[in-house]
Symmetry: C2
Subunit: 330 residues, 2 copies
């Protein structure tokens, strides 16, 4: 198994990326990593880690990085030698089995679509975030396509179901449509038309419209929506979790008694925080593409990168892409 990693993408690159790669490379002996980025900087990271570069890590040098400010199309033009473009090209040429990047979502989405290409018949690829509740809820699209059609949502239901089935072992993944009410006639015209298509789709297990207040209770395994609503929902979940966490902190710091209370339930508070930790999943797959691409969170730490690599390996080992391809032929 050979995975390419963008060493230059994300807020904590290259150090946290390199550290995460190192953890994964030590853990998984039959893993080969192609680490793409500035060779000198990567070596510096290893110095900081007080380690030698393990033999299963190869460095592909480039000092060109795609920034958050760059127009997504830049990867195809001026920055076609950036770490992101090189990684996607390695993937396209079959030199690696999957690619992981914590860089710009927009750029990764555009460049993946143009370089790696979509599965035949797929109209749009989606970024599928994994929501951190009791059971994972796959939210797609979570930001790449602000405007969609009902056909696109219907395809994503198939693609998402295949992913959840193979990755999390869910037999018949429940598919929900994110909407502003449970009734069939609710929502925008696109949501209304999507409901009709999803209801009639024999390839999926459609459970109807899902109201956002139910999301934390995991009412479905796959939740389809446009990338505008999906992105706003994803970030609102993140924002609320963070807000609640900081409120909790303030509560415990209020006085001597609350500080004692904290000591009495330190473990539970830690578990509470951990329940919103997404590092186990490590990233969001770009679904609908011909090959596995994982978008790691922009603020990824080493644990997230390790998680994203493990997800990339499992994705690559599964036959999800083949399964989607077959389902769409029907």
């Amino acid at each position: 198994m050979r995975i390419a990693i963008d060493a230059m993408g994300g807020d904590n690159a290259p150090f946290e990326i390199v550290k995460g790669v190192d953890i994964a490379a030590n853990e998984l002996k039959n893993l080969d990593v192609l680490l793409i980025g500035d060779k000198a900087k990567i070596k510096d990271c290893y110095k900081q880690l007080n380690k030698d570069i393990p033999s299963n890590i190869t460095i592909l040098h480039t000092d060109i990085e795609v920034t958050m400010e760059d127009d997504p199309m830049i990867v195809m033009k001026e920055k076609n030698n950036s770490s992101m473009a090189l990684g996607l090209n390695e993937l396209k040429q079959g030199n690696v089995d999957a690619f992981v990047s914590a860089g710009s979502t927009g750029a990764l989405h555009v460049a993946s679509t143009l370089i790696v290409r979509k599965i035949k018949g797929v109209r749009r690829s989606a970024i599928a975030a994994i929501l951190p509740f009791e059971t994972p809820v796959l939210l797609l699209d979570s930001g790449a396509n602000p405007v969609v059609t009902e056909d696109i949502l219907n395809q994503w239901a198939v693609v998402g179901s295949a992913y959840v089935n193979k990755m999390f072992g869910v037999e018949k993944p429940r598919v929900g449509l994110l909407n502003n009410g449970t009734e069939e006639h609710k929502g925008t015209p696109v949501a209304q038309e999507a409901y009709k298509l999803l209801k009639e789709n024999p390839e999926i297990n459609f459970v109807g419209n899902i109201e956002s207040k139910e999301i934390p209770n995991c009412p479905c395994d796959v939740l389809v929506t446009d990338g505008f609503t999906g992105n706003i929902s994803l970030k609102l979940i993140e924002g609320m979790a963070k807000y609640m966490g900081s409120k909790l902190k303030t509560m415990y710091k209020a006085n001597c008694l609350t500080k004692i209370a904290y000591l009495l339930m330190k473990k539970q508070v830690k578990d509470f925080r951990k329940s919103f930790d997404t590092s186990e999943y490590g990233g969001a797959p770009l679904l609908g593409l011909n090959k596995p691409v994982i978008k790691a969170h922009g603020s990824s730490k080493a644990a997230d990168i390790r998680g994203a690599i493990k997800q990339a390996i499992r994705y690559s080992e599964s036959n999800i892409i083949e399964k989607v391809s077959q389902a769409l032929q029907k």
Copy 2:
């Protein structure tokens, strides 16, 4: 001050409505309430409360109620003698100064627009939810209009600013546009065009695109968006708060030590829960209408109804509608 209340609307009608009205009517001596609903049932509620109906409450009898299943247009046709329709007609005819209902949002929105009518020049009326963070954030539209145009969003910025200014005393309300990124080019075509209009609007204090993860930190006083995204955001905030609350409960019940911890910080836990209590605001104003209509939450309890009545009074006493009308003439 004379306020009409729909005694039949909402999950806890008529008892919680009557109880809330009774609290408000006893608190505010110069308030007259027109309570619209089934006279016998209202009298039963007072029996349950072990009280006589105070002299500042008058009952307007009807046993017809609008249900959640009814098509919104029904208020105008078969159910034009329902508690909702009668209340709106009393408001239209000037017999009362404001109307409060916890009934169907869709029906109240449609019937208000058709009976009470919009302010001249307003293209769509919006339901403006008040988000329960450190400082109130007025979210409009929160569910009435799934599809909007940039002009509508721009008008809502003006209407919402006038409301926040008069109701919460905010000098220059900060207006934000809910979007999937902070950059100007982000979002749907409608959001992109709305950004341009909002930026150039001299009547408002536009602070740019707002990412949903920032909402709990109150980055603006007025947050404009379409009713689809707004409704999903509102319900997600509710759902996350409820989920976190129940997680907290489980944490404290884990073992003897955590139960002691709970006792040590009971007050803080109570305050934490209370910080998500929306009963002080009591309801969402329907903005853009010629007269004050307040939509109380469907699950309203007495405290919410009391809050909604107080909000209706302040709304009616303010010159918000006049101010909006003047701003739109410009």
